[in-house]
Amino acid sequence: MNIMFLSCKQVTELVEKKQLVGLSTIESMRFRLHVVMCAACKSYERQSLLIEQALKRMIQVSRSDKDAAQLHPDTKLKILEKIKTSK
């Protein structure tokens, strides 16, 4: 492993680190140095951010899908029974 140059795999890890807690000065320098020269990693960073936004959107949609969800009546009876018998 080279001190100055990161591998693509390391860069893709740093893409996530960058989003989660940010990079140190050294990391950020190495990161930029790599991305300037590597189209695949540059495009991966944008893809990672897009996936992130898509996930967020998916979660919002899944919430509205569950707006009318109810416990199954049989499950309700079962749980009520357990409440009654546990003390």
């Binding site: 591998s7 693509c8 795999k9 390391q10 893709t12 890890e13 893409v15 996530e16 680190k17 989003q19 989660l20 807690v21 695949a40 990693c41 495009s43 991966y44 944008r46 893809q47 990672s48 897009l50 996936i51 936004q53 898509a54 996930l55 967020k56 959107r57 998916m58 979660i59 899944s62 919430r63 569950k66 707006d67 969800a69 109810q70 416990l71 199954h72 499950t75 309700k76 079962k78 749980i79 009520l80 357990k82 409440i83 009654k84 546990s86 003390k87």
Partner: protein, 187 residues
Amino acid sequence: MPHDVESWFHKYSDELFRWSFYKTSSREIAEDLVQETFLAAVKNHKNFEEKASAKTWLFSILNHKIIDYYRKKVKSITVDGTRAEQNFVQQTDSHFDAHQRWTLSKGAVLWEEESHLLDNMEFRKVMGSCMAELPENWRLVITSKYLLNKKGQEICQELKVTPSNYWQMVHRAKLMLKKCIDRLWKR
């Protein structure tokens, strides 16, 4: 007294269920957590202060159960990954060659350059199928920060993992999603 808890159950169980269903994305898990919540309420009934709102109290019990559920799931990834997860780790490693450079197929689609991608129904469908291909625990890791509504360090504290552990898990899951989208997204 179980008597109170029974009437709370009639009043709040559906609302609690919807919340835990949304947080866990699984009907069965959500039902279990609701049941555990009410049983805990019976057991700890004397800790409930009459002036407090029963609904708030029940939700706080449920929220603890939800976090516990997440922690257990995330822990099971790091401690004893299942076979499916081991395969998954090998698969993401194969995205890189011996020098850790991308092994991209020649015709890789630059889907990130598409405009309005997030509003595109086809893309959302692709995203849904790709999420379904992820092992369950990894899916949970990458959705956790939105479901638990925490960012950065906070989500790591909540899940009791180190940041480096967390971003490595997210890294693997993202690589899988990327490859899957590359495969399914055709122009």
